[in-house]
């Protein structure tokens, strides 16, 4: 399974959420190829291979897990920039948020998000959700050509 694992780009500002998510992924050996960026600007730097990421190999991640409430550049704006960039728009994006607000969901789908997941409060449900996301997008789903694979 590991040999076919795709790279996951996680955009999350809350270190606890990062830790819990990584813990959930670890249980299923999905955490190794997770790249964490802590705000929208950093995520865009990573995707465009600029700033501190200027030396990385230019492959796209297999999936982006995107929080909506982010410092500097917020999630919806990141999503909008990704989906309007011809090189980046092929990357599957999953919004992973605390917000149950309908307007966030509608706005995300209008911008072309591939999935919208509300983080469950219950830890077991949370772990299940993260695991299923990881397995589906990083393992089962065949990503577009040019995506990073381990």
């Amino acid at each position: 399974m590991d040999t076919r694992l795709g790279r996951i780009l996680m955009v999350e500002d809350d270190p606890r959420d990062v830790e819990l998510t990584l813990t959930a992924l670890e249980e299923y050996n999905l955490a190794n190829e997770v790249v964490v960026t802590h705000d929208g600007a950093e995520a865009l730097d990573y995707l465009h291979c600029r700033g501190e990421f200027s030396t990385r190999s230019g492959e796209n991640p297999a999936v982006i897990l995107l929080d909506l409430k982010l410092p500097k550049v917020d999630g919806l704006e990141v999503l909008q920039q990704i989906k309007s960039d011809p090189k980046l728009k092929v990357i599957p994006v999953v919004v992973l948020t605390s917000s149950r607000e309908e307007k966030d969901m509608v706005a995300s789908y209008q911008l072309g998000v591939n999935a919208y997941v509300v983080k469950p409060v219950d830890f077991h449900e949370f772990v299940n959700a993260i695991r299923e996301l990881g397995v589906f997008w990083a393992v089962i789903n065949v990503p577009p050509p040019g995506s990073a694979r381990k």
Binding site: D17, R100, E102, V121, F123
Partner: protein
């Protein structure tokens, strides 16, 4: 109106006029004969001329000619040789000719004079009629409630009606001869030159003016100007008709003020609504995150330390997790409750039968193993927001399921009464724990619970949500029950 004088009267006046000729000639003849008797000659000619002159003067041309003929005959008969005969000698011809010529001259002059006199009289009568007519018209203008005045081309007031006096407070005597714009301190809506140009071009002008009254207060008038031109098409006078619209202006001003206030309020409301939305968003996002962390880390801790934790510590852990989970539900329910107040209702025809079936199939997954008798009556189609009404049934039916838990055989009935014409009254009845009617008014309040959480779990928002949704549909909710006797919840929604 001579033509309407009776024929008889005109005939009498004709005979009277010719009578004047006869009498005056007779009156001239008498002294002539008397003087002749005393041998005083040549007096008769001027006497006859005198008679002709009087006749011409008094009775007109016709009688004057008659008097000339009579005078000539009398002269010939009584005074020319041979006397007392109409024969006359050639030597007498000059005297007769002189009489006739002189008399004709007098008649001619007299008739000219009479004609001039008649014309003058006619002109005077006409003038008098005109004056009367004008006076009548002016008094008519005085009768109107409108304010009317006339000013000449240099704006000097030449006419001032009663309406003007009543509105502005100046009598005609005070106003006439004054320049109107100075007297009224007119404030124009546009430069006066432009207004005058339009008046000259079209003959009319309309607009709103502000005038100052005699008492110093001001008045807004709807003003109409009409230009009168003389026979040579030169501007002669301007008639200004003004209507007091001060009250209307005040009302307009008031309405504008109220509108402004309304706009301000609605902006404030909008801002409040936005704030509320931002608050709800913040609650949704920011309150749930720490809660998730609490649950997550507690869960991780329990996993890691389960071997070293004793039973008591294990229970503490469970309480922490349950409380956090309960708070999660509270937040979710509260957000759903607040969303009902914020979002627009989207009303369509809703088949309640079908809606109840859907909700039931959802609930049956949670009621496995329980003995529940469902009695479902026929429900009509109503007019409402399907998603919201679904929430109503979910809340009421899951309540019914929850509070009948202690019954070995639960009975839940759903139906509707047909009392009202315009609305549907739906009820949900159960044979569950019921409630004390003493607390019925607390039932629909947010976070109000009539049972201990140990007995029946819940956040206390369900019935508040039901009430809010039904109120947004313009309907009512009520409850009926007794402790251990079950409860019935009624709600009404508009019929289709």
């Amino acid at each position: 109106m001579a033509w309407s004088i009776p024929q008889q009267q005109s005939a009498r006046s004709i005979s009277l006029r010719y009578g004047v000729a006869l009498v005056s000639v007779a009156l001239a003849l008498a002294p002539g004969l008397a003087l002749q008797h005393y041998k005083l000659r040549s007096v008769e000619l001027p006497l006859f001329l005198f008679a002709v002159a009087i006749t011409a003067w008094q009775a007109g041309v016709g009688p004057a000619i008659l008097s000339i003929v009579l005078s000539s005959l009398c002269l010939d008969y009584f005074f020319l040789e041979p006397i007392y005969s109409f024969d006359f000698t050639v030597a007498d011809i000059p005297r007769v000719v002189v009489l006739i010529a002189f008399a004709a001259l007098i008649v001619w002059f007299s008739s000219i004079r009479r004609r001039i006199e008649r014309q003058l009289r006619q002109a005077r009568d006409q003038l008098q009629m005109e004056v009367e007519e004008r006076t009548q018209q002016a008094s008519l203008l005085n009768l109107t409630h409108d304010t009317i005045f006339v000013r000449d081309t240099s704006d000097v007031i030449t006419y001032w009606n009663r309406g003007a006096e009543e509105l502005y407070g100046w009598t005609p005597e005070q106003a006439l001869g004054k320049r109107s714009h100075d007297l009224l301190r007119t404030v124009f809506p546009a430069p006066l030159d432009e207004i005058n140009a339009e008046l000259l071009r079209t003959g009319r002008w309309e607009g709103e003016l502000t005038h100052t009254k005699a008492d110093g207060s001001w008045v807004v008038v709807a003003s109409r100007w009409s230009l009168r031109r003389d026979q040579l098409e030169r501007p002669a006078a301007i008639m200004e008709t003004n209507n007091d619209i001060t009250a209307r202006k005040h009302r307009e001003e008031e309405i504008r003020g109220l509108n402004h206030e309304l706009e301000k309020r609605s902006t404030e409301l909008e801002a409040t609504n936005k704030e509320l939305e931002a608050f709800a968003y913040s609650v949704s996002h920011d309150l749930r995150a720490p809660l998730r962390h609490m649950v997550g880390y507690a869960e991780l801790l329990r996993k890691k330390a389960s071997s070293v934790l004793d039973d008591k510590s294990q229970r503490y852990m469970t309480v922490i997790l349950e409380s956090a989970s309960r708070m999660g539900h509270l937040i979710d329910d509260l957000l759903a409750f607040s969303r009902i107040g914020r979002v627009e209702t989207q009303k369509t025809p809703v088949n309640l039968d079908q809606l109840v079936k859907e909700v039931l199939s959802e609930l049956r997954q949670e009621t496995g193993g329980r003995d529940i008798v469902w009695r479902i009556g026929t429900l009509p189609v109503c007019h409402g927001d399907r998603q919201m009404l679904r929430l109503v049934f979910i809340n009421l039916l899951s309540n019914a399921v929850k509070f009948t838990r202690a019954r070995p055989r639960a009975e839940i009935e759903i139906g509707c009464t047909h009392e009202e014409k315009n609305e549907v009254m739906v009820f949900v009845r159960d044979n569950g724990a019921g409630f004390d009617m003493k607390y019925v008014n607390k039932l629909f309040g947010v976070f109000q619970r009539l049972h201990h959480p140990d007995a029946f779990e819940g956040t206390g928002i369900g019935l508040a949500t039901v009430q809010r949704i039904i109120h947004r549909h313009g309907g009512t909710v009520r409850a009926d029950g007794a402790v251990d006797q079950g409860a019935t919840f009624y709600f009404s929604v508009p019929r289709l």
